[in-house]
C-alpha cells in the first residue's frame, strides 16, 4: 500500500447555485463516498480549506494575501488515502462527487515516504 494525496479544486460555482435540498443531497453523496473509503481502510485523513490565506515569500520578508486566483485554481480541500498504485488511486477518485461539477478537478499525487 502507498499513500496518496487528493487535492480538490473547483466545484464552488455548482454548489453556490444549489437549493438547500440539493446541497444536503450533495453532502450526503460525499459522506457515502468517504464512508466507503473508510470501511475499506483506505481513508487516512482529509479536511476542507478556506478560500482565503496568506503567501509567505522572499524569505518571509513579504507576506501577501491570497492566493486570490480563480475558483478553479484554489485548492478547496485535501484527502489522504491508501491505495495499491497510482492507477488504483485514480480509479478510486472517480467516485468523488466533486466531479459532478464541470469546473472541478482532482490532482492525485503519491506521498513520498522515506524508508530507512
Amino acid at each position: 500500500m502507498q499513500k496518496y494525496l487528493y487535492l480538490f479544486r473547483g466545484g464552488d460555482k455548482m454548489m453556490a447555485a444549489m437549493s438547500p435540498e440539493e446541497v444536503e443531497a450533495h453532502m450526503g453523496e460525499w459522506r457515502i463516498w468517504m464512508q466507503e473509503l473508510a470501511e475499506k481502510g483506505q481513508l487516512i485523513d482529509g479536511e476542507p480549506l478556506f478560500a482565503e490565506g496568506k503567501q509567505v515569500v522572499k524569505g518571509g520578508s513579504v507576506i501577501t494575501d491570497g492566493p486570490f486566483a480563480e475558483g478553479t485554481e484554489i485548492v478547496g480541500g485535501y484527502l489522504m488515502v491508501n491505495a495499491a498504485s497510482i492507477e488504483d488511486a485514480v480509479e478510486l477518485s472517480k467516485g468523488c462527487p466533486i466531479l459532478q461539477a464541470e469546473d472541478a478537478n482532482i490532482e492525485v499525487r503519491q506521498i513520498q515516504v522515506l524508508e530507512f
Binding site: 437549493s19 438547500p20 435540498e21 446541497v23 453523496e29 460525499w30
Partner: protein, 414 residues
C-alpha cells in the same frame, strides 16, 4: 441520488433555511431579505463542505446560525450598510454578533413570517411562491417544477412578491384583533392551495410534490401552536390534509402509476394519520359554525375511512357536497357532487343533472373526462370515446394524458 443519507437528515437544510431566514428577517427587517437569503445560503454551503469531511457537529443548528450571522454581518460591513442602518438595528447587529444561539427564539418568528408571506398586498400565487421560497427553502427552479410553471415566470412572480415584501412590511408581526381573522383566513387559503398543488395527480415529480403536502401540514402546525390562531377552521384544514395524506402510501402501484380511489389498497393507508385526522375533526366540531374546511375534512374522512370503495357512505357525502356547494359553488365541487350522485342514482341520472349545469362546467379541464366516465357507465361507448378524446386533447400534463390514453385504449372495440 443518496436518498438514504439525505433522508436521515430529514430536510434539515431546507428547514434550517426557512428558520434562519425567518429569524434574521424578524430581527432586522424585510428590506434586508436579499442579504439574509445570501448569508443563509452561504452558511449551508460552508456546512456541507465541512460536514461532508468531518460529520455533523453536535448542534448543527447552532453551527449554521453562527456562520450565517457572521456572513450577514460581513456582507453588511462590506456594503457599508451597517452605517446606514438606524441606531436601533445597528445596536442589534453589534450586540447579536457574539450572542449564543437561543433555541427558544425559534418558532415564533416563523409564525410571523407566514403572515408576512401571505400579506394582502400580494396576489394568492405570489403568496404561495414566496412562502415556498422563504419558509420552505425551495429554490426558484424547484418551485416552478413543483407548481408546473415556467421557471422564468416563477422567477418574475417571486421578484414582484419580494418587492412588496421589502417595501410594504418592514417589521414582522402576528396581526391582532380584528385584523387577525381576515389575515388568518388568507394564510389558511395559501396552506390549502399549497396542499392541493402537492396533492394533484402527477407522477413525474411525485416526491417533490408530496413534499409540498408535508410543508403545508408543517406550516399549519406552526399556526396551531399559537393560541390566537388555533381555531376551528385551522383544525378542520389540518384534519382534511391528514385524511388525504393518509392515502399517499396507496396512491401509486409498483410501476409508479397512479391508482384511482377505487383501485387503491386501503390496508396501506396510514392509520396514525387517520387517527390524528379524527382528533382534529372532532376538535373543530366544537365550533358551532361549519366552515368550508370542515365540510371538506368530513368528506375526506368518509372517503378515506370507508372499508372498501363500494362501501363508501355516498349518501352522507352527497349531503355534505350539497352544503359545500352553497358555500363554495366551484366547478370542482359540482363535478365531485355529480360523481357521488352517479353512485347513488345511477349514471343516467347524473348525466341528466350534469346537463343543467353544463354551461358552468364546460371550461373545466376535467369536465369531459367525467362525462366520458358517465357515458361509459351507461354503455354509450361512442359518446364515451368522443368525450374522452376531447379530455385527452385538453389535458395539461403528461401524466394525466397517459392516464386518459390508457383508458381510451381499454375502451376500443366496445
Amino acid at each position: 441520488m443518496t436518498t438514504e443519507a439525505a433522508a436521515t437528515l430529514d430536510h434539515l437544510f431546507r428547514h434550517e433555511y426557512g428558520r434562519l431566514v425567518s429569524l434574521f428577517t424578524n430581527r432586522y427587517s424585510t428590506a434586508m431579505i436579499d442579504s439574509i437569503e445570501d448569508a443563509v445560503q452561504e452558511a449551508l454551503y460552508k456546512a456541507a463542505k465541512v460536514w461532508a469531511f468531518k460529520g455533523l457537529p453536535e448542534n448543527p443548528q447552532a453551527w449554521l446560525y453562527r456562520v450565517a450571522n457572521n456572513a450577514l454581518i460581513d456582507s453588511l460591513r462590506k456594503t457599508n450598510r451597517v452605517d446606514r442602518l438606524d441606531d436601533d438595528t445597528k445596536n442589534q447587529v453589534e450586540e447579536t454578533q457574539e450572542l449564543e444561539f437561543a433555541q427558544d427564539e425559534l418558532g415564533d418568528e416563523q409564525l410571523r413570517m407566514i403572515f408576512a408571506c401571505c400579506h394582502p398586498s400580494m396576489k394568492l400565487t405570489e403568496q404561495l411562491m414566496l412562502s415556498l421560497k422563504l419558509l420552505c427553502g425551495l429554490s426558484v427552479k424547484e418551485i416552478s417544477r413543483a407548481l408546473l410553471k415556467q421557471e422564468e415566470a416563477t422567477k418574475k412572480a417571486i421578484t414582484r412578491a419580494k418587492k412588496k415584501f421589502k417595501e410594504e412590511i418592514g417589521k414582522l408581526e402576528v396581526p391582532v384583533g380584528n385584523e387577525l381573522e381576515s389575515r388568518l383566513s388568507a394564510v389558511l387559503q395559501v396552506i390549502y392551495l399549497l396542499f392541493n398543488e402537492g396533492y394533484k395527480a402527477t407522477e413525474g415529480e411525485r416526491l417533490l410534490r408530496q413534499d409540498l403536502c408535508d410543508e403545508a401540514i408543517r406550516l399549519a402546525f406552526l399556526l396551531k401552536n399559537e393560541p390566537s390562531c388555533d381555531n376551528g377552521e385551522l383544525q378542520a384544514l389540518i384534519s382534511m390534509m391528514l385524511f388525504k395524506a393518509a392515502r399517499f402510501p396507496a396512491r401509486v402501484d409498483a410501476k409508479g402509476r397512479l391508482l384511482t380511489l377505487a383501485e387503491q389498497d386501503r390496508s396501506k393507508y396510514d392509520e396514525d394519520m387517520m387517527q390524528w385526522g379524527w382528533k382534529f375533526l372532532k376538535e373543530s366540531s366544537a365550533y358551532t359554525y361549519s366552515s368550508i374546511y370542515q365540510l371538506e375534512a368530513t368528506i375526506s374522512c368518509y372517503y378515506t375511512t370507508a372499508e372498501t370503495y363500494e362501501k363508501t357512505n355516498w349518501q352522507s357525502i352527497l349531503g355534505l357536497y350539497d352544503r359545500l356547494i352553497a358555500l363554495k359553488p366551484a366547478p370542482v365541487v359540482h363535478m365531485s357532487r355529480i360523481l357521488v350522485l352517479s353512485k347513488l342514482e345511477g349514471a343516467q341520472y347524473a348525466l341528466n343533472e350534469i346537463e343543467k349545469i353544463e354551461d358552468e362546467l364546460k371550461g373545466n379541464q376535467s369536465f369531459n373526462a367525467l362525462k366520458a366516465d358517465l357515458y361509459a357507465d351507461v354503455m354509450d361507448w361512442p359518446k364515451a370515446r368522443l368525450h374522452l378524446q376531447r379530455a385527452i386533447s385538453e389535458s395539461q400534463n403528461f401524466t394525466e394524458r397517459r392516464f386518459l390514453q390508457d383508458k381510451l385504449r381499454s375502451w376500443v372495440g366496445r
